[in-house]
């Protein structure tokens, strides 16, 4: 039961983050490709919620708690993140096509969508990875100093 509550809390958090990201990207995308004065329908809000909900379902691939995370190796986590990224791509492009956010024949629009997805995903992942990498380097230096001190 506790595991399910944690999973729901985790998915709710993901849903909020994705919705925020999609709203920002949609605002930029509409401004660039349709102009800033274009009228949008209320249906767009439901479409955004729908995309966010579908992307959130895919987050079932990611660990929701420390216990779950502990069971997944570094390689396993990387694979899950890549699969999740592909899933997000399919969901956003598929929904974008169904909701007529872009015309598949207009390669600039398709490219714009793809750049938006990759941009958000890579920026978020890379920023946190490089921050952790910097911390790991510092800790490795301290471990070496500690080993040197102990061997003297």
């Amino acid at each position: 039961m506790e595991r399910w509550i944690k999973r729901l809390q985790f998915m709710l958090g993901i849903f909020v983050k994705i919705t925020t990201g999609v709203i920002v990207v949609t605002a930029v995308y509409i401004s660039v490709f349709w102009g800033i004065k274009v009228d949008v329908k209320v249906a767009l809000l439901w479409q955004i919620l729908c995309v966010s909900a579908l992307c959130t379902v895919g987050s079932i691939l990611l660990p929701a708690s420390e216990e779950e995370a502990q069971e997944i190796s570094k390689k396993g986590m990387l694979i899950r993140m890549i699969v999740y990224f592909i899933l997000v791509n399919i969901v956003v492009l598929g929904c974008g096509f169904c909701f007529q956010w872009f015309s598949p024949s207009d390669w600039k629009m398709v490219l714009g969508m793809e750049i938006s997805i990759i941009g958000v995903f890579v920026a978020v992942t890379a920023a946190s990875y490089f921050d952790d990498y910097r911390i790991a380097e510092k800790m490795n230096r301290r471990l070496k100093e500690r080993e040197k001190r102990d061997s003297e």
Binding site: E66, K74, M77, N140, L143, D150
Partner: protein
């Protein structure tokens, strides 16, 4: 066995005197423990009992209500709970790496990010242990960061 504790005179240093008819193996073990500060751990494998130094252990892991001590190549069961070990083990050398793991800092070869705020510790015996996000701050503090 009778145990007598006497208070030394102000100019005397603390002393343990063992009064016995014969010095058997158990008594020798006790003397060894007293000299070493009783730091050895009782571990089990195939219904045999072994005494090992905590420093020999790479990490302790709790699996299905049992706690195991992972050495360079050997694995032993230990009867203590993880929270008890956390109290007993030298605090400068051992840290909680996850809810189910206590890790020996001296056995870490290197650390790399493992995504999601976690870190992977490559141990000197080639094994890899994941350090949970919630214990990374403890590790950083221990290393003076």
């Amino acid at each position: 066995m009778k145990v007598t504790i006497l208070e030394p005179k102000p100019d005397e240093e603390d002393e343990i005197i063992i009064k016995c008819a014969n010095l058997d193996e158990n008594l020798l073990e006790l003397i060894r423990d007293l000299k070493q500060g009783s730091s050895k751990l009782n571990v089990y494998r195939n219904s045999e009992i072994f005494r090992i130094e905590p420093e020999q252990v790479y990490y302790f892991e709790s699996v299905d209500q049992k706690v195991f001590a992972y050495c360079r190549t050997d694995v032993f069961e230990i009867k203590s709970k993880l929270y008890e070990l956390e109290e007993e083990l030298p605090k400068q050398d051992f840290i909680r790496a996850a809810k189910s793991i206590i890790l020996n800092l001296n056995k870490i070869k290197s650390l790399t990010p493992a995504f999601g705020g976690r870190f992977e510790a490559l141990l000197k015996n080639g094994e890899k242990v994941i350090i949970s996000r919630q214990y990374v701050s403890v590790l950083k503090k221990k290393l003076g960061l």
